[in-house]
């Protein structure tokens, strides 16, 4: 159960003739967002100095292109972490949905092109896997860490069975297989989709009762339950939503590559999760924002892209990434260090 220590200091009040209080209040309320934004600016400045090609339009579009997929995944992860749980099934669910999508679309193995229904089935499959995770978590009381770890392998197994022994299936629709990086409004489509998912997620959190219940459950599940909130229903819904979002991510991943194999999602989870945490979402639940998640993804993508352009040796890249990541998390979480938070 998580709890937040109360702040005994009187809230800042806006008074005429004291603009400093307004600014201080703004900074205090948005310290994580400001910290991450500052970190991004610092990194971007350093990388631009190290390689001027970093700051070109072409590379910035490339950076956004690379941020698109992790952003979609991170939105789903944010919802789950907000209730104090974790979803490790992302990569398996993505693989299963991506494989189903390609095999039901026009592909090099032949078969029927189901068009729109390919999307429906793929996302539906992913949501179903999320449903099972949610039910096992709430009804059978298996910790989310364990049940989603198992669901990761279930998803991977489904993808492997669907893959069979034939050659790797390619999307044969050229327009579809290049959609992800095509530009609209100066940004690649997959990033715009990620942004749309993040905006919808933010609206869901902010303006719906579902969002309010989510934050309440994450903040203090017992009190939420005691106040008559349907906690288990909310949790199952969260996992279904996260599953569906992973399904969308699986489709985007296959469109990006133009093909699919069971390991298409490998490595994405451990970009998305740190991004969510860096973005200010508490692993204990109850606190976080989609804006923070978006900025967290951009920070990590800037880091990996910048290190490549800066000619950092591959031998050191992972270690350097990790060190900068820790620094970014420390800077972001510095303001929270005095609060008492007990992890679930």
């Amino acid at each position: 159960m998580s709890s937040t220590a109360t702040n005994d200091k009187p809230r800042n009040r806006v008074t005429a003739g004291q603009p400093n209080n307004v600014i201080a209040g703004f900074i205090k309320r948005n310290v994580e967002v400001i910290s991450i934004s500052a970190s991004i600016l610092v990194l971007a400045t350093i990388f631009s100095i190290l390689n001027p090609r970093f700051a070109t339009i072409e590379n910035l579009q490339n950076l956004l292109n690379q941020a698109g997929l992790p952003l979609i995944i991170a939105v789903g992860a944010t919802f789950v972490i907000l209730i104090g749980s974790i979803d490790l099934s992302v990569e398996g669910v993505m693989s299963a949905s991506g494989m189903a999508f390609v095999l039901m679309s026009a592909n090099s193995r032949g078969g029927t092109d189901f068009g729109f229904w390919a999307y429906v089935v793929a996302i539906g499959l992913a949501a179903t896997l999320g449903f099972f995770s949610g039910v096992l978590f709430t009804k059978v009381k298996v910790p989310s860490f364990i049940v989603t770890l198992g669901m990761w392998y279930v998803g991977l197994g489904i993808a492997t069975v669907l893959f069979g022994t034939d050659t790797m299936p390619f999307l044969t629709n050229d327009d579809l297989s290049t959609w992800a990086s095509q530009q609209n409004l100066g940004m690649p489509n997959n990033f715009l989709l990620g942004l749309l998912v993040a905006i919808l997620g933010a609206l869901l959190l902010r303006f719906t009762s579902f969002g309010r219940v989510t934050l309440a459950v994450g903040n203090n599940e017992e009190i939420a339950r005691g106040n008559g909130l349907k906690v288990n229903r909310n949790k199952v819904t969260i996992f279904v939503l996260a599953g569906a979002i992973s399904g969308i991510a699986g489709i985007v991943a296959t469109i990006q590559l133009g093909a699919v194999n069971p390991t298409i999602a490998a490595g994405n989870l451990f970009i998305a999760l740190p991004a969510v945490v860096i973005g200010g979402t508490s692993l204990a639940g109850g606190k976080g924002s989609m804006l923070g998640t978006v900025l967290g993804v951009i920070l990590l993508t800037t880091l990996t892209n910048g290190l490549t352009l800066a000619d950092v040796s591959p031998n050191f890249k992972t270690a350097v990434s990790g060190a900068i990541l820790i620094l970014a998390i420390v800077i972001t979480a510095w303001s929270q260090r005095d609060r008492l938070r007990i992890s679930k």
Partner: protein
């Protein structure tokens, strides 16, 4: 509770645990004792093919070769899918060894460091094993004994040289290229990369490697790294060298999205079915200009047949010459205009295995034995 009982209680517990552990370990007959190399009866044998995963086309072909050979020899076959994990690989192999039958095994190791454990376990269980592609340099079949029948591979240096040459010729012997090796600590990748540099240094001094980013044999990672390198080097990139066809898929997609597929040339290793399809479709207006030909079903069939001959006593590994214990098999350089000459082998896998059984593992076209390992990675003067 007295001090005496407090002191003796943990001691008794530790003693009991130690005794129990010893009993368990001595009970594991698959990992104790020395292996026998006396000829075995066919009915006591089980064939085992161990691959890194079952979805990569090369590993799927390893399984195919094993299935065909096992059927020809009328020996049951077990398949080990390592799922990319050394621990899974070793656990599954140990489980098969514990079943009791003597194994005739082909292993495509997940990592070089897996080989010592595997060969020692097989030896202890009285089985026979060949390892393909990756092993530590200091692990020699002759040092382990007859149960480690042979280490076999195709020359990585030759693969890298062949593809580097094809790429350099295609871009007019000058200009910038990018390289995407596989996993950094893979001997296979390291030797291919070394072969590439050796060929460029010797014969194509005006071809420059602009950048090199290991992409772990992963198409998605190769796609991402290629996108970064396109942003970094732009139209300076004239060619792309990848250590295997899987990564080439990702790289080509990145260049296709950047509208550069027809302006850049690609080479790689393996002539995967996807690559064959791209060549036949003239993708990118002939973007792929060089490949190497070797097949997973040939590797596994050769490896298993070598181990089988040792198991039934038809060959004595201890009397074999060095090149038949640490073996390099032929690899073919292929250009798009010649691929049908090589693809014909794929049309009759069973026929090829029949020829293997007739000619033996070292003298079967198109992959006869051509030399002895280990491959020495040349040092470069940077």
């Amino acid at each position: 509770m007295s001090l005496k009982s407090i002191l003796t209680k943990p001691v008794r517990m530790i003693a009991a645990l130690t005794l129990a552990s010893s009993l368990v370990l001595t009970g594991c007959t698959s990992t104790t004792g020395e292996g026998s190399t006396a000829p075995l009866k066919k009915e006591d044998l089980v064939m085992v093919v161990s691959v890194i995963n079952t979805t990569n086309p090369y590993f799927a072909a390893n399984i195919l070769g094993a299935q065909v050979l096992a059927k020809k020899l009328d020996i049951p076959l077990e398949i080990v899918d390592s799922q990319g994990s050394s621990q899974v690989e070793i656990s599954k192999i140990q489980a098969i060894l514990a079943k009791g039958k003597k194994v005739v095994m082909f292993v495509n190791t997940v990592a070089s460091s897996d080989a010592p454990t595997i060969v020692n376990d097989v030896k202890a269980a009285g089985g026979f094993v060949t390892i393909w592609w990756n092993k530590p340099d200091e692990l020699n079949p002759a040092d382990v004994g007859n149960n480690f029948v042979a280490f076999q591979k195709h020359s990585g240096l030759e693969s890298g040289a062949c593809t580097a040459s094809a790429l350099s010729e295609a871009i007019g012997k000058e200009g910038g290229i990018i390289a995407l090796p596989g996993v950094q600590d893979s001997t296979t990748s390291a030797t291919r990369v070394a072969g590439m540099y050796q060929e460029l240094d010797a014969n194509y001094p005006n071809v420059t490697v602009l950048d090199e980013i290991p992409s772990n044999w992963d198409p998605q990672l190769a796609y991402k790294n290629s996108k970064d390198l396109i942003a970094k080097h732009g139209d300076k990139i004239k060619g792309v060298w990848t250590a295997d066809d899987g990564m080439q898929i990702g790289a080509m997609q990145a260049f296709k999205e950047a509208g550069l597929l027809e302006k850049v040339k690609f080479v790689s290793d393996g002539l995967y079915p996807e690559t064959v399809a791209a060549i036949k479709a003239n993708e990118g207006n002939g973007a792929i200009v060089g490949e190497t030909f070797h097949r997973g079903y040939m590797a596994s069939a050769i490896g298993l047949y070598t181990a089988y001959l040792a198991a039934i006593g038809e060959i004595d590994p201890s009397t074999l010459p060095a090149e038949k214990r640490d073996s390099l098999f032929a690899i073919s350089c292929v250009t798009p205009d010649k691929i049908d000459e090589y693809l014909k082998w794929d049309n009759d896998v069973e026929g090829w295995v029949d020829t293997l059984i007739e000619n033996g593992p070292w003298d079967t076209a198109p992959v006869p034995l051509v030399g002895a390992g280990p491959e020495q990675i040349p040092t470069r003067n940077n």
